[in-house]
Symmetry: C2
Subunit: 267 residues, 2 copies
């Protein structure tokens, strides 16, 4: 998820933002838009893969926290947004066929099929909002780059065709704020929840903290410890590795903006 | 769920208990057995209904908190119990065909099919254990009867063939302990979580608090308020109403005893 400053749309409502995206007026990353509202990852799969993916998410709720799952074929959401159209309301989509990226689109309505099930998945933007509110520094935001993400040796629980290791994101936290960071994010299990690991990158199979597998490296200060959270890249990586015949996702950083405030994901 | 005193098996391990059940040595309700360990509801459905039921549970996590879902055909569990056999380790099962109860069995291995998916669902026994630990009275245990349960006007979120209203259980709580009861159970979302309603039975469509739709009436004292929790009878009622071609459940009160301590369902 790229996180570029985008102050223009910080104060409009999610509904208004989605209308602008639907018209094609916004095709950029959504970071900083609709301040306070949860943004979400999207994975769209044919019905014949949907049971296994739902099972995968159920068994790996930290890496793959489901916020909503649609009925097969439906482009509407019921809980996370009203009057939304999944096929048009994200600024940029990626389409994969048999695991290969075959195109990027600003609208996938012409590719829609009656057997598609959409999975709306929680995103760490929501807990970063809470961390900042609680005066806990979020380094990659301070340094205006992407969060560093790493492949690990932590195996996800398999479900049918879907299996693989967890991808984690890392935020350096001052020692005296680690417990607070655990409590703040632990209260938000619908957006990844508490850290999966605190302290030793090696213990979870990370060779070099300075060379993330995705995103950008960030500064770790002397009084800070690297803290690792389950990352929403995990389900995408797991789905791609299984090479489904057809799959649509959001394009990195181009998220679905919901009607739900981050603070309401705590309850 | 009947809750008769059964002190004989209160201190043995879940694994030892399940072996006795498997041999046919125990066919009685499980209340009071393996103190401190979570007991669970069972719903078994053919794969062709499993996606919709998983979706129903995902959309109604308070009434239908899933603890584990098996791979199709598998009689083994991975997370909630080791060396368990779903088809033999519950003291009494019910079998339904097209929504009609067609038999009770102490072993369903001869009825097992390769397309069956088992859903292990959290049970209020776990949070009652925590309430009692926290010195909050649980009336139906004091009065040695079933918890009172009621049909309500609270609609569950529909998923495919599965829809219906929520069934709730009621426990009278002294006014000065209501907040504590909310906090204790709210910390356990995997076993129904916080109350769904506090105070007015009428507001949720209950006509007479003295005439529960299932279970037994209990005394509500002068300084107490009726507190309502989502009930595990909801998914069973919803499944039966959809008249699946084939379905196995536990028999009321005859639960699956897991290897997981109640206290660990908080984390």
């Amino acid at each position: 998820m790229t996180r570029k400053k985008s102050t223009d749309y910080s104060d409009i409502t999610p509904d208004a933002l989605r209308k602008l995206i639907r018209k094609g007026s916004i095709t950029s990353p959504t970071s900083g838009m609709c301040n306070g509202y949860a943004q979400a990852n999207l994975v769209v799969l044919p019905k014949d893969k949907a049971f296994d993916f739902l099972l995968f998410a159920m068994r790996n709720p930290k890496a793959c926290p489901l916020l909503e799952v649609t009925d097969p074929g439906s482009r509407e959401l019921t809980y996370m947004a009203k009057n939304a159209d999944i096929a048009t309301d994200i600024p940029k989509y990626r389409v994969y066929e048999n695991g290969e990226l075959t195109g990027e689109y600003t609208d996938v309505s012409m590719l829609w099929r009656d057997d598609l099930v959409s999975f709306i998945i929680g995103c760490s933007f929501s807990f970063e909002w809470e961390l900042i509110n609680a005066d806990i520094p979020v380094r990659h935001i301070e340094e205006n780059c992407n969060v560093p993400m790493y492949n690990t040796n932590i195996e996800c629980e398999r479900a049918g065709a879907f299996h693989g290791n967890m991808v984690v994101s890392m935020r350096p936290i001052p020692y005296d704020l680690v417990s607070k960071a655990v409590l703040v994010t632990g209260a938000m299990p619908r957006v990844h929840g508490a850290p999966i690991h605190i302290g030793s990158p090696k213990a979870i199979g990370i060779r070099s903290i300075d060379a993330p597998d995705y995103g950008d490296p960030v500064t770790i200060k002397k009084n800070e410890v690297p803290v690792f959270w389950p990352c929403g890249v995990t389900p995408q990586a797991v789905v791609m590795a299984s090479k489904p015949e057809f799959c649509i996702t959001h394009s990195p950083g181009h998220m679905f903006v919901t009607d739900i405030k981050n603070v309401n994901l705590k309850y």
